[in-house]
């Protein structure tokens, strides 16, 4: 067996990326638990569970797109649009319906992004940069002012707890579990990964590349739509201005989890590790009371260190 770096291969699968993510997460947890009294309190742990939801949902969708070799910069705008749409519709429609429409809107944006990329061969970066702008504008066109749903049931999704675990965290966990199975065990998932490695080979294997690329962007749109609805429900107010720069954390989570931006490499598990790393860093810096702008300085440096470690 020939490999440039020592790798962890079990039963024929390469777990190196997962192992590194797990190691970094464990390290952060140990540091946090030993240096902060607050870290292991139930309140803080519940907090962590809640705060990983938005980044987590976006990161999974982003992973699927990144696997194809693309990128989806529009997710933050989709969060804003779908949240405010669901909140707006909840005035006239049953809340589950309003929320479903929100997620469907996310899928619709994803389909448009995907079609522009797959059908017309445009660069994903630019397509989703343009749709970032357009969808943000549409969110404001839909409502310039925040919308507060009057029906308290709108808050249910965001505040329900199942024992010690928030419902939305469970939803995110289900997305990652189902997503993991999708990527590793279904023909569509395998095809998406292979497309990122070499789209021409996949096309000649009789697999519809366009369809799968569009599917990937639709999944990202769905995740962003879900994140938007969840966020609106969690906050209780939907604002057209939320979600600016959310894509950056989602992308960072994927990369920290070892996904290659050139496509074809990445896993749901390792990406989830990346999400944990980001959330833990934020939590830790907050617990230590590090000032906001020093937090920024450190966060950037830590990301560099993590990817330097991963590179080894």
């Amino acid at each position: 067996m020939i490999a440039a770096t020592p790798r962890l291969v079990l039963r024929g699968r390469d777990f190196t990326a997962e192992a590194i993510s797990a190691a970094v997460v464990v390290l952060l947890v140990v540091v946090a638990a030993t240096t902060s009294d607050t870290f292991l309190t139930p309140a803080n742990l519940t907090n962590l569970l809640k705060q990983m939801v938005t980044t987590g949902l976006l990161a999974f969708g982003m992973l699927v797109v990144i696997l194809t070799g693309g990128i989806d910069l529009s997710v933050g705008s989709v969060v804003a649009f779908t949240g405010i749409l669901a909140a707006g519709l909840s005035a006239g429609l049953p809340i589950p319906v309003a929320m479903t429409v929100g997620v469907l809107a996310g899928i619709a944006f994803g389909l448009v992004n995907g079609a522009l990329v797959a059908r017309f061969g445009l660069a994903p970066f630019v397509v989703t940069l343009a749709s970032l702008t357009t969808i943000r504008g549409l969110a404001f066109v839909y409502s310039e002012v925040p919308i507060t749903p009057t029906d308290p049931a709108f808050l249910g999704l965001g505040s329900a707890m199942l024992g010690p675990v928030p419902l939305i965290t469970l939803i995110m966990a289900v997305v990652f579990l189902a997503g993991g199975v999708f990527l590793s065990r279904t023909p569509a998932g395998r095809s998406i990964i292979a497309i990122g490695g070499n789209a021409e080979t996949v096309r000649l294997a009789g697999i519809n590349v366009r369809k799968h690329v569009i599917l990937a962007y639709a999944i990202s749109g769905a995740c962003a739509g879900l994140a938007g609805v969840v966020l609106a429900s969690r906050v209780g107010i939907a604002q057209p201005s939320v979600g600016v720069a959310f894509e950056l954390d989602a992308i960072a989570a994927c990369v920290i989890g070892g996904a290659a931006l050139s496509g074809g490499r990445g896993s749901a598990r390792a990406t989830f590790g990346g999400v944990l790393v980001l959330v833990l860093i934020n939590n830790l810096l907050n617990l230590y009371g590090v000032q906001s702008f020093w937090q920024q300085v450190l966060k950037g440096l830590i990301i560099i260190v993590v990817i330097l470690v991963r590179r080894k």
Binding site: T38, T41, A43, N44, N47, K50, Q51, F140, E144, V145, P146, T148, L155, G158, S159, L231, R234, V235, G236, I237, Q239, P240, S241, V242, N282, N283, L285, N286, L287, G289, V290, Q291, S292, F293, Q295
Partner: protein, 298 residues
Amino acid sequence: SSGGGQDDGTQTIGVANFLLSGPYFSGMDKAIAAQAKKKGKIQIISTDANGDAAKLAANIEDLLSKNVDAIIISGGPLESAPAALNAIKQAGKPVVLVDRKFAVGEYTSWIGPDNKAIGVQDGQFLAKRLTDGGKVGIIKGGPADNSIGLARTEGLKSVLGTTQGITLVEAPDFGNWSSDGGLSVMESLLAQHGDLKAVFCENDAMCLGAQRAIADAGKAEQIVLAGVDGQNEALKAIQDGTNYVVTGLNDADQIGSMGLDRAVEILSGAKVEKDTVVPSPMVTKDNAAQYYDPNGTF
């Protein structure tokens, strides 16, 4: 479409918004336009710099090139724009600042709130309310260069910092002036300081998010909230007798319409006050009904 001194006596007033994408700022823009319509014979040209200071300068130059009769600047988080103010001065046009008073540079007139006073007001209310003392959390909007937020917090601290039995804890992270930001900052704050008695936010949007976090943590009975702005949702929460107990009115509608009036006065040659502080009445459960307008835009 080109401005000033048209034959029918219509006057053109340019509005330069630094950042429209916030309910307070778009409310301001709308109020100016609405007031102009009410007055009649005034044309409004509104621009948005989308948070880019150079673009604001360009927009103002744009307005000057269209020969507007006066300019209203809604500077939002921008601390100042000396070069743009110079350009307006050189063009010999009057400029009215609304809400944001620029730290440097020459302007004709400013209409806005006394942000520090609002903080003081909230602080006094909380001092009276927290008879047994306790911890008060502070959620700032950020970034660190936002002097509007700094003034509000400074006002609060000037009262509570010297009140016996009260400890202040400032959240290290900023809430970015938004409800979702307020929510997550509050959650972090609660994890470390479960014993808070009150929370002050630099605006209502963040307080509304914080209120959610408090409710989720089951601490609505324990913690009261104090905000700034008089955003509709906050007024309603106060009126409904929730743990949202106080805010200081910083009415975009009022400031906007006064700003337009001020510009018109100046154009008519009247001598006007240089700085006008719009009073920011304290809103509590007792008087919230008076300010809450279910159909208001902000």
